[in-house]
Amino acid sequence: MVFIPPHVPAEFISMYLPAIYAGLIVGFIGSMAIAMRREEIHILILTDLIGLAMIFVVSAVGTDLAEALILPGLVVELAETLAISEILLSREMHKIEADPRRNLTKSTSLFPQPFALDMEIMTTAPNFIALVLIAYGIFLTGFTGGAVAGGGIVLYALSKKARGLPVLVIDGIAGVSGIAWCLWIIGFALFFVAPGLWVLSLFLAACGLLLKVASKVGLIGLLMREDIDKE
């Protein structure tokens, strides 16, 4: 009944059962870890591990249809993590409101202790590496290229210690992101309206996605730098 194309190697087909067993075992280990830990934030992180095991099991199918299932699964998982962490945050806020002296000594930061990165390699090498990464990302285009170029931007932002970026720059990055989104949509629509222009629409979508992902990752880098340079 199940149709498997003849050019699929036998090893790939035999990988299916180990893959779903691995996923289920990872999920089981994650549940055991949740049963052992008592801190709530650790439980939240371990729950995400079970979500990743879910991606395991779904992606083991390995067809086009399964790929269409992975994306919604990933989005659902992300949304649930966000919702639960929001609930955790607002609950802690209400607790602090009820008893304001609880959080006097605690700080909430990505890095709890301020630290300065004074290494020579952080000032000389990154310019070059960032340039190479961005160039390679532009060469790749698409989602992967965006991630590579964004990695370059993150590296640059982490290594340069200029504090307080002007608002114009952040607005500009957001604007580029919006234009990239439009490019992607136009490319996508053109693909359906005029299939003859598929090369143009493919490049529109790929370049839009490149700018989009690169600017997103770049923003993360900017936010992180604000946190790191805290003295």
Binding site: M1, V2, F3, Y16, I20, G23, L24, G27, G30, S31, I34, E40, I43, L44, T47, D48, I50, G51, A53, M54, V57, V58, A60, V61, T63, L65, A66, L69, P72, G73, V76, E77, A79, E80, T81, A83, I84, E86, I87, L88, S90, R91, H94, K95, A98
Partner: protein, 223 residues
């Protein structure tokens, strides 16, 4: 099992390629009831809870603010529409997605309340819902891998292999956790103890209806 055996006479189908939506008296009734209820909560106002004050003779009103009311009504309407969609869908994976969406929306409806106990139980319920997305999506994907289709119309004509039974059992586990019934109800019961009645009821109603529909789908797949 055939559609007609479970849901009564088949009124008709809406073929969308591989996915065939089918309309039976059962699914039509569930769909219509959920839509009517969604309409009701879309136009209704929230209740005010009256609590006895500790060590005093007076009562205190627990009111819901305008902003919180709007957010809760929006999420409740979306939750109603998602449940109604799950009643009519003819695709196994659409059903699991609606199920996961209802799980998130249930957390979202109570996320803006100020009671710490309600938030605590919402947090516990969210953890259970997240953990149960592994058996839910995993079961659906195992059924896909062992039959090659997600369409209920095709799945109902097939006989169940051991792998399909395994997938269906995993899916049942996922549905139980995601809708917060039977073994997992302890965390969900506390979520109702918050003001804003008509919007809170959709949490209960959606999980009730989705269990009925899930039983029908699992019987269709297994028989």
């Amino acid at each position: 099992m055939d559609f007609g055996t479970l849901g009564g006479n088949l009124f008709g189908t809406i073929p969308l390629g591989d996915i065939v939506l089918y309309i039976t008296p059962l699914s039509l009734f569930l769909f219509a009831v959920l839509l009517v209820f969604t309409l009701l909560i879309a136009i209704s106002k929230t209740e005010t809870q009256v609590e006895a004050t500790f060590m005093k003779l007076s009562n205190t009103d627990v009111k819901v603010g305008k902003k919180e009311f709007k957010q809760r009504r929006f999420l409740a309407v979306i939750c109603g529409i998602a449940s109604a969609g799950a009643m009519l869908t003819g695709d196994l994976f659409n059903f699991t997605l609606f199920m996961a969406l209802i799980g998130i929306l249930n957390i979202g409806i109570v996320s803006a309340v100020k009671q710490t106990t309600v938030l605590n139980s919402a947090y516990q319920y969210g953890l259970i819902a997240m953990m149960c997305s592994l058996p839910l999506f995993g079961g659906a994907s195992i059924i896909l891998a062992s039959t090659g289709t997600l369409s209920l119309a095709v799945l109902s004509q097939m006989s169940a292999t051991p792998m399909v039974v395994f997938g269906a059992v995993l899916m049942l586990l996922g549905i139980l956790g995601e809708s917060g019934v039977a073994p997992f109800f302890a965390s969900k019961a506390e979520m109702f103890r918050t003001p804003g009645s008509p919007f809170i009821v959709i949490i209960h109603l959606s999980s009730l209806f989705i269990i009925v529909r899930a039983v029908e789908i699992l019987l269709l797949v297994l028989w």
